[in-house]
C-alpha cells in the first residue's frame, strides 16, 4: 500500500472502491503484539504476548474481563482497546440489570461492530485502531469472535492477530479440527504452543504471556503467572519440540519469505473486509 490521494479522509472512497483509512487502521492492528484465541464447544481461551517496553516498566494489559461470561483480548492501539472494553462492560452490566441475565456474546459483538462502523462513516472520527478477540458464552456454548476496525466481525474456531500472528495461525490451522472436543487443559496447552510460535525462538515464560479462560461453569478468569509457568514447564518437559523446530526452520528460511507471507496475508486481509 502506498500513499495516494484517496487516503486522507475516512469518508473518501478510492476509485477501486476501497476506504484506505480503514485499511490503515487494520495495519495498526498488525503492529500490536500477538493475541490468539481458540475455543471448544464449552470453553474458550485467550492468550497474548505481553512484552514490557523496558525492564523498568510493567506490561501492557491486553486481556480484559468484560463480564463473568465474556473476555476480550486486544491488539493494536491499546488505548482504543481500553475504551472499547469499557463500552462492552457497560453494555453487559446494563443488560444484566434489566434482564437479570448475561448478555449473549453474539449480540455484544454486533453492537461493538456497529460502533466501529460509525467511525468509518463520519468525517470527524477515525476508525478504532484495535482488533478485538472476544471470547464468551452464549446459550449455545462457547464462542470466539474477531472484531475488526472496519466494523466487520467474524466467528472463529481459532484465530490470531497482531505481529507475527501468521506463525500462530499456521499452527492453529493444523490443529483446529480437534478443538471443538478438546478439554479445557488441552485448549490452554494449544494456546501456549501458538503463543510460542509467535515468539520465534525466544523462550516462552509466563512473564511474556498472559492466558485466560472462560467456559460453561467457569467464569472468565486470567490465569496466574505461577499456573501458567507450571503449564509451560509441563509441556516443554514432555518434549513436544517438533512443532518448534519446524517453525524455527521456517523462520530461518527467510525474513523476506516471512515478510512476503505477511504482505500476502495482509493483502488478503485487506480484501476480505471490503468483500462484505
Amino acid at each position: 500500500m502506498f500513499r495516494n490521494q484517496y487516503d486522507t479522509d475516512v469518508t473518501t472512497w478510492s476509485p477501486a472502491g476501497r476506504l484506505f483509512q480503514v485499511e490503515y487502521a487494520m495495519e495498526a492492528v498488525k503492529q500490536g503484539s500477538a493475541a490468539i484465541g481458540l475455543r471448544s464447544k464449552t470453553h474458550a481461551v485467550l492468550a497474548c504476548v505481553n512484552k514490557a517496553n523496558s525492564e523498568l516498566s510493567s506490561h501492557q494489559r491486553k486481556i480484559f474481563k468484560v463480564d463473568d461470561h465474556i473476555g476480550v483480548a486486544i491488539a493494536g492501539l491499546t488505548a482504543d482497546g481500553r475504551v472499547l472494553s469499557r463500552y462492552m462492560r457497560s453494555e453487559c452490566i446494563n443488560y444484566g440489570y434489566t434482564y437479570e441475565s448475561p448478555l449473549p456474546i453474539g449480540r455484544l459483538v454486533v453492537q461493538l461492530a456497529d460502533k466501529a462502523q460509525v467511525c468509518t462513516q463520519r468525517s470527524w472520527k477515525r476508525p478504532y485502531g484495535v482488533g478485538l478477540l472476544v471470547a464468551g458464552l452464549d446459550e449455545s456454548g462457547a464462542h470466539l469472535y474477531y472484531n475488526c476496525p472496519s466494523g466487520n466481525y467474524f466467528e472463529y474456531q481459532a484465530f490470531a492477530i497482531g505481529s507475527r500472528s501468521q506463525a500462530a495461525k499456521t499452527y492453529l490451522e493444523r490443529k483446529f479440527e480437534n478443538f471443538p472436543d478438546s478439554s479445557r487443559d488441552d485448549l490452554i496447552k494449544d494456546a501456549l504452543f501458538a503463543i510460542r510460535e509467535t515468539l520465534q525462538g525466544e523462550k516462552l515464560t509466563s512473564s511474556v504471556c498472559t492466558v485466560s479462560v472462560v467456559g460453561v461453569g467457569e467464569a472468565f478468569n486470567i490465569l496466574g503467572q505461577k499456573t501458567v509457568q507450571a503449564l509451560i514447564n509441563e509441556f516443554e518437559i514432555s518434549g513436544e519440540e517438533a512443532p518448534a523446530t519446524v517453525s524455527a526452520a521456517e523462520e530461518a528460511a527467510g525474513g523476506d519469505a516471512a515478510a512476503a507471507d505477511q504482505g500476502g496475508a495482509a493483502a488478503e486481509e485487506e480484501a476480505a473486509p471490503m468483500d462484505i
Binding site: 440489570y97 434489566t98 434482564y99 437479570e100 441475565s101 449473549p104 453474539g106 449480540r107 454486533v110 452464549d138 446459550e139 449455545s140
Partner: protein
Amino acid sequence: MYTLLGEELNLQITSHFHSSQQKLRSTIVITSRGCRSSKPSSPIFRVDCESVFDLLKLSTVDYQSLGISYHAMSCHVIMKKFLSRKQSEENGVFADMVSSQNESSLLSSEGDSQRTQYPYVTGTSVIGIKYKDGILMAADMGGSYGSTIRYKSVERLKQVGKHSLIGASGEISDFQEILRYLDELILHDNMWDDGNSLGPKEVHNYLTRVMYNRRNKFDPLWNSLVLGGVKNGQKYLGSVSMIGVHFEDDHVATGFGNHLARPILREEWREDLTFEEGVKLLEKCMRNLLYRDRSAVNKLQIAKITEEGLTISEPYSLKTYWNFAAFKNPTVGAEGSW
C-alpha cells in the same frame, strides 16, 4: 441545630446556621418520615437560601402547621413553591400552603410528572402455579368499572414471545400498554435473529424495571402482573406489583387471590402435580374467589405453558352451589324491613 418536628410525623426540618462575615446563610434539610416507619429517611431536599432563614424566625406554630399532613412528595412541592416566591411575605406564603389542604391542587399545579392515578376499568385476581410440565395460570374475564361489572370478555392472560405467559390484574388500559411494551421488546429480540431469545426470567425482570421506574415517577402502571414460562426445561413463575415489588415462587396470585387462593395452594400444592390435578386445584381457588370476591365473574380462562408451547383455554364457567339452608328464606329471622 434546629429541629422542628411536624406534628403528624411527616416532616422533619433541620436547619444549620453558618455565619460567615455578616451574612447568615442557612441550609434547610428536609427529610421525610414514611408514614409507617419512624426512621428518618435520607434528605430529599436541601435548600440554601437566605430568605428561608428569615422564615425560620417565624413562630413554631407555623412550622407545625407546615408539618401536618404533607408527606415527602408534597414537601418537595412546598419547597419549590417557596423558592419561586422567595421574596413574598413569609407569613403569606405559609398561610397559603396551610390553607390549601387540598393535596391534589398543590401537586398538579407543578405541571411535572407528579400525578396520582385512579384505576378505572379493573380486572381482579390472577393465580399462577408451577406444575410438573410447566406453568398453569387462571384468570376470569371480568372488567369492573368501580362496582359495576362492566365488561365480561376481557382476556387477561396473554402470550409473550416463545417462552412466557403474562396475566394481569388491575387497570386494563395499563395492561394493554404493558402488552405494547412487551410486543416491542419481543420484536427487537426476534430481529436479532440469532439463536438467543428472552426467557420468562428476563421478561419478568424487564417488567420489574418498567413498573419500578414508573412508580418512581409517581405515574404507576396500575397492575399486578403474574409472569410464568418454561425455557430450556427450567420453569419460572414470578409476580410484579404496581410499585415494583417482585418475587418468584411456586405459586403466586394477585389481589384477592393472595388472601383467598394462596392459603389453599399452600396446603395443596405439590411439585409433581399433573395437568388435570393442577387445573382442579386452580378451579378450586377460582370457585372460592367467585363466591367471595365481588368483582369476580363466572367466566374464566386457564392457560398452560410448557416447553412445547402455550395454550389458553376457551372461556368457560364453574359450577357453583347455592343450595345452602341459610340461603333459603334468608329473611326468616330478620327484624324490621331489611
